[in-house]
């Protein structure tokens, strides 16, 4: 895979990067200028009001007020311009570089930097027990792997809440999920819901943890036979038999392999004959560096995320269609 990415990088990505390199340098330069201006404004606010008040023989507070308004306006203006430049560069990077990397992975896949996965799909997956009231999704890749239709995108969700009253009112923002989310056809028809979450209770508390898992959940807790699987995941389902119909020994083994391969917190769910897969990977996965050029290692890291879609679909054997669902 590395040699294929290198070939694509040299033939397609590097020329595209050369084209937008000037833009990157402008953005980096403007950012540094903005930083210097902020430092200048800060020093100015500390030193200038007194000086100007003495020279012009006016009230110190009036001079301070005027300077705060002027400097504040300049600071906001610089921030907005820097933000716009950065956004424009990111958009150009995504359309010229990320899109090419997606096509290099599979020429029939579609990439859209502005689109994401529908919030209802995320909510209905049932993977996340913490509610959210802020949702953002972008960088959607859609297509097929074999006969399996899929969508994959970055998702960030937060829960914002407030404590205290009046002057003591405080805003809190808790991150619920930040990573990649894959939504694909499953190869069996089923009616209920099966959710497979990372198992923290049993890991830390052993058998006692298992007792906690059984308490206070809407769906039924399902204890699976695979000991290794049980150690890493906890399963809830609307029906015990359907859970085992979906989670065959082969699927459980595949889930363990996926977790070990990608080394992050992963969760799965099976809803409406579709499979959802979420992997926690903080940060912006498909955005460029500002202070240095995008290099081959960066391209390889991005491609790894796209190839992971194929790996997960193949690991779960979703292209095997020997049951009634074609």
């Amino acid at each position: 895979m590395a040699s294929e990415i290198l070939k694509v990088f040299q033939e397609q990505i590097e020329p595209a990067l050369v084209g937008i390199e000037q833009e990157r340098k402008k953005v980096a330069r403007f950012f540094l200028i903005t930083l210097l201006v902020y430092i200048g404004l800060f020093i100015g606010i500390l030193t200038l009001p007194d000086l100007i008040a003495n020279i012009l023989n006016v009230e110190f507070e009036n001079v301070l007020l005027v300077l705060v308004i002027l400097f504040g306006a300049l600071a906001v203006f610089m921030f907005i311009v820097s933000y716009i430049k950065r956004k424009k560069y990111i958009k150009e990077f995504k359309s010229k570089v990320v899109a090419k990397l997606v096509k290099a992975t599979d020429p029939h896949w579609n990439y859209d930097a502005e689109l994401g996965i529908d919030e209802n799909v995320y909510s209905n997956s049932g993977i996340f027990t913490t509610p959210h009231n802020r949702y953002h999704s972008e960088d959607r890749v859609a297509g097929k792997v074999g006969v399996v239709n899929f969508q994959c995108a970055e998702i960030k969700t937060f829960y914002v809440y407030y404590t205290g009253f009046g002057k003591n009112r405080r805003r809190h923002k808790v991150k619920v999920f930040d990573g990649l989310f894959l939504h694909a056809d499953f190869n069996k028809e089923f009616e209920g819901k099966v959710i497979v979450r990372p198992d923290t209770a049993e890991k830390f508390f052993g058998r006692l943890g298992e007792k906690f898992q059984k308490i206070g959940r809407g769906d039924t807790f399902v204890k699976m036979e695979d000991v290794d699987f049980e150690r890493e995941f906890v399963v809830y389902a609307s029906d015990q038999i359907e859970a085992r119909y979906i989670l065959t020994p082969a699927i459980m083994s595949a889930m363990l392999d996926i977790k070990q391969t990608f080394g992050s917190r992963v969760g799965f769910s099976f809803v409406d004959s579709q499979v959802n897969y979420a992997i926690s990977i903080p940060g912006n996965l498909f955005e460029p560096r500002i202070f240095r050029s995008h290099n081959f290692d960066d391209a390889k890291r991005m491609c790894r995320f796209f190839y992971s879609i194929i790996q997960v679909i193949n690991a779960l054997d979703l292209n095997t269609r020997i049951w009634t669902k074609k």
Binding site: E225, Y245, I322, W323
Partner: protein, 188 residues
Amino acid sequence: MSFILAGVGVLFIILVLIVSSYNGLIRKKNNVENAFGGMDAQLKKRYDLIPNIVAAVKQYVAHEKSLLENITALRSRALGGNLNSDEKVAIDNEISSSLRGIMVSVENYPDLKSSENFLNLQRTLNEIESQISAARRSFNAAVTVLNNAVESFPSNIFAGMMKLKRREIFVIPEAERQNVSVGKLFNG
């Protein structure tokens, strides 16, 4: 006075333990019955599919009558009623083996293998077999939970009083784990 209260408290705790142990065992027993019922329902689906398979295959493999007659007879016995759990399981194993044999023999008939009707039947059978496998695993899980309760202290005391016994989990007999010999099937 405090001595009496303490005594009442202890009696209350003992009563709660007795009631929860009793209820727990009843729940586990019912889960096993429920799981067996689930397995039964899936087996019934397979019995219903068998005539369709026999009809589809018969046209092409007329000279392998004994194979088809065997599975038809097994189906009749399974649906005949008055079978206990062990007998049901035994017949189910024979049917599984017989169906595998038919599917293997179909490999020799390309026209049959590619017919739309047969392909749909094969998919349906695969689906049902997967559901039967899931039902068996659920049954085994429920039986394991019951057996743990029946054999572990102190619930084994209550299990003994309630005459609850260990149940056997569903296992595939050794003969069934071996590869099917098509020749043996054809020769009866």
